[in-house]
Amino acid sequence: MNHASPTAPCRLRINGQHYAADLPPSVTLLDLLRERLDLTGTKKGCDHGQCGACTVLIDGKRVKSCLVLAVSIPDAAVITIEGINQDGQLHPMQQAFIDADAFQCGYCTPGQIMSAIALLEEDHAHSREEIREFMSGNLCRCGAYNGIVEAIEHVIAQQDQDSKGEAA
């Protein structure tokens, strides 16, 4: 009957945990997370790199996981929405999303949050316009855009305050 499909080795660090398996090369990182590792916090909104729902961090950079084949990034460090809690506490961005009512259905939310966290690292958030421009890869059909921008601005303001505090 059926012959086995070809596989290739996949070795990753996902939210700090080592993962190794032989996978068909057609498995995307997104489908690996959702269907094989039960990390369903990362969402699929298009499977085409057009919506941002699947955004994760790969070696610190935001990447659309639907466009990455799992076997193509050996030894990469992948962080998903499940991996950003800090000692069981919500990440400040997660808390800011709740406070600013930055979502409705919540489906684009993990992607928005991962993107927003990376955005701050990229130093691409100097103005509201810049935030909007650099968050435009993350679509939200519920239209929670105002809240998302507010949440991001809030986290920036918090960080500024913290760093001022440290400086003083």
């Binding site: 499909s5 269907e35 406070d99």
Partner: protein, 744 residues
């Protein structure tokens, strides 16, 4: 009902927020039972015809493929067509997936591949070849207009337009008039979560169905009937829904096919549509409205003539309340309207956020703006002069109408005063600036709904109603309601939604959930509270000192006062006195006699006034919306935070309607060809300015038991017109077709 606002009306953060920001909320495609199979649908490539042969040998040879299900080998389903009718009740012959070899629309499922992995199913699906006998089809809307008709049986919620006065004579005699054909392109709902179903056969032979739907009970009834099962063999769950906007009102083919697959293979099945497949089912119908309006020289509206057509499929008669909004909302002595539907060989169009009104109000408000300009009147002054305090079409008073306040407060907030009337009079560098406005109107609805409240020995209150939270904030406002009605802090409340086994509830949609489920939860909690306090007073185990005192329940604590001495004790203690592990009450909120009489005598609407600023690049024609203000009159606002998000969300979608969204038909194949997010544009972050939403005070004790009107749709109504009207003010050019793309 006399409600003292403590928790109701507060901007409480969403109680489902934690689950959503951590990725723990489980959507339809996410439960993962052992032995799960993946189903991938193969779609028809023709619009009309018959399948001659399906070649699935190559697909079956793909490792991991378990079965290819087609109309040849599918299990038995219900024999009669009427068994496939779903709750929305669109007249006609419902589409029956994999029923036989006949093709009714492009994209119709012709086979489903089931495999051990998603990758195998996807690969195999691409290998399936189908031979068709092609029949002629028509997918061109303009051609369909020649076949427009009025179905003999209309949709149950259809409101036939009523004529008053003599509109054509008044039109002929009036000095100032405009007329034209207004048009809206078809739009797809495109919730971020694609339609998906996970079906799990349980050990007791029942099916648990996780489905992306707005009505778990409607899907349960549909599946049971279409698959010839009994009602309690199917349990449908949808605790989290990644948006829907109407696409989850009817049971979609994915749920039917997944359940059919589970019946065939006796294994858990997941079927998820792809984004392109999301363009093979429901959409907002394309529409034309021929509008003729006339007024006196002083700007008094004299005649309204509206003729509108929306499209439907060849097999079902989908209808919208498209043409009634102008005749209802304006006090014009002469008005007439006519509505028809036009068939084409596509899937049936369907309700999308504010169905009928999103199209009808926006296109009409664009026409009204033209008339105001023709009269030489300020658009706001024209509307203040002509809007109706009552439902002018049925000559019926309204339960409340704070539209005037909305217009005035919105104008104030926007800074409308001092707007130069002439187009092209404001500019900044290479951009023209324009200010436009419009009125919004939508039904305020109430449907009978049941809810259950249960107090458990851990001192928590559990509320259950099968309403759906599709991002609407239902979890949160129901918790607020329960908190206030029972007297318990919100963090000691659990809300259970989205389960067909819960008490009865209509499908979520049309903005009726807050009013209806809210009232049901209120009643259930009140009744539980009474029952609980009575039991406490009666139980022999209740200490004498408590039994004889006047006990009150607030903040989740019981307080008794006796002889000036205060006793405080907990809900847990009280339950132990009663000797029950838990105590529960179930109630149904219905209009009642007074409500029914009120429904006969009075109409009920939400209203809004939308103000907009756009900037239009003179050379490139690029339009940017830079300011939006929406003043909304929607009765009692349960939670200003989530309500404002609802309105803003609809305004974003309306911005898409005005400027971006258009499903383009390839008439040769009968297929929407721009079936992905890079070609079907929904607004992104960069398209959306800050939106200012204000709620106008509107007390309405008659509209629903809690005075709620609902806020889910109103943001759609008027916003697109305000943008179009602002574009005219910026550029001097009138567009009569949405979306407007001056740069394209």
């Amino acid at each position: 009902m006399n409600v003292v606002s403590a928790n109701i009306g507060q901007p409480v953060p969403r109680i489902d927020g934690f689950a959503k920001v951590t990725g723990q909320a489980t959507y339809a495609a996410e439960p993962h039972p052992p032995g799960l199979l993946y189903g991938v649908i193969v779609n028809s490539l023709i619009a009309r015809g018959r399948i001659e042969a399906i070649h699935d040998e190559a697909a079956r040879a793909v490792p991991g493929v378990i079965e290819v299900m087609t109309h040849h080998n599918r299990p038995h389903t219900a024999l009669f067509e009427k068994s496939y009718v779903d709750g929305l009740g669109v007249p006609g012959s419902p589409y029956r997936p994999l029923h036989d070899g006949e093709i009714h629309f492009n994209g119709q499922p012709v086979a489903v591949v089931f495999a051990e992995t998603f990758e195998a199913a996807r690969e195999a699906a691409m290998l399936i070849q189908v031979d068709y006998e092609r029949w002629p089809h028509n997918a061109d809307f303009d051609a369909a207009l020649y076949q427009k008709y009025m179905p003999s049986k209309t949709r149950s919620n259809y409101v036939p337009p009523k004529t008053r006065g003599n509109a054509s004579e008044a039109y002929a005699l009036s000095p100032i008039k405009i007329e034209g054909r207004f048009h809206l392109a078809p739009e797809h709902h495109n919730p971020m979560e694609m339609h998906a179903t996970t079906v799990i056969p349980e050990e007791d032979c029942t099916l648990t169905v996780w489905d992306k739907t707005q009505g778990p009970q409607a899907v349960q009834t549909y599946l049971a009937s279409a698959l010839s099962l009994s009602g309690n063999e199917v349990r449908v769950r949808n605790p989290y829904v990644g948006g829907a906007f109407g696409s989850g009102l009817r049971a979609q083919h994915n749920v039917f096919l997944a359940a059919l697959g589970a019946k065939m293979l006796k294994r858990p099945i997941r079927v998820t549509l792809t984004r392109p497949q999301m363009f093979t089912h429901v959409f907002r119908p394309e529409a034309v409205m021929d509008i003729a309006l006339a007024a006196d020289r002083d700007g008094t509206l004299q005649s309204i003539i509206v003729e509108g057509v929306t499209d439907t499929s060849r097999f079902e008669h989908n209808m919208e309340n498209l043409v009634i909004w102008g005749p209802i909302g304006y006090k014009c002595p002469n008005a007439t309207a006519d509505y028809k539907i036009a068939p084409r060989d596509t899937y049936t169009s369907s309700d999308m956020r504010a169905p009928g009104a999103a199209t009808g109000v926006n296109l009409f408000e664009m026409a009204i703006d033209e008339l105001a300009w023709a009269c030489g009147m300020d658009p706001l002054a024209f509307r203040l002069h002509n809007y109706s305090e009552i439902d002018a079409m049925h000559n019926m008073p309204l339960t409340s109408n704070a539209l005037r306040e909305a217009l005035l407060q919105g104008a104030e907030r926007f800074g409308w005063n001092g707007r130069p009337p002439a187009p092209r009079s404001l500019r900044d560098g290479r951009e023209f600036i324009g200010h436009g406005m419009a009125i919004g109107i939508w039904d305020a609805m109430f449907s009978p709904t049941a809810a259950r409240a249960r107090l458990t020995s851990d001192g928590r209150l559990h509320i259950a109603t099968p309403a759906s939270d599709i991002g609407t904030g239902t979890y949160t406002i129901l918790a607020q309601t329960a908190s206030e009605a029972f007297g318990i802090p919100i963090d000691r409340i659990d809300i259970e939604l989205g389960d067909s086994t819960l008490p009865e509830c209509p499908t979520e949609g049309g903005s009726w959930t807050a009013a209806s489920a809210g009232a049901a939860v209120w009643l259930a909690c009140q009744s539980l509270r009474e029952k609980f306090l009575k039991a406490l007073a009666k139980s022999e185990n209740t200490p004498e000192r408590i039994r004889q005192s006047e006990v009150t329940l607030t903040e989740g604590e019981l307080r008794g006062v006796r002889d000036g001495r205060r006793e405080v004790f907990s809900l847990q203690e009280a339950l132990s006195f009663i000797g029950e592990a838990s105590i529960e009450a179930e109630e149904t909120a219905k209009p009642g006699l007074r409500g029914k009489i009120s429904e006969m005598r009075k109409a009920r609407f939400t209203h809004s006034a939308v103000f907009c600023e756009v900037r239009v690049d003179e050379e490139l024609g690029i339009v940017r919306v830079t300011r939006l203000v929406n003043a909304v009159a929607a009765g009692r606002i349960m939670n200003p935070k989530t309500a404002a998000s609802q309105v803003r969300g609809a305004m974003v979608m309306a911005t898409g309607m005005a400027l971006h969204e258009e499903s383009l038909m390839d008439e040769r194949y009968g297929r929407f060809m721009n079936h992905n997010f890079s070609e079907y544009h929904i607004p992104s972050h960069a398209d959306i300015p800050e939106m200012d939403v204000l709620f106008v005070d509107e007390k309405d004790e008659e509209v629903s038991p809690l005075g709620i009107k609902g806020v889910g749709e109103i943001g759609m109504c008027g916003t697109a017109a305000a943008i179009a009207n602002a574009i005219f003010h910026a550029t001097g050019k009138r567009y009569r077709t949405l979306p407007i793309m001056p740069g394209a």
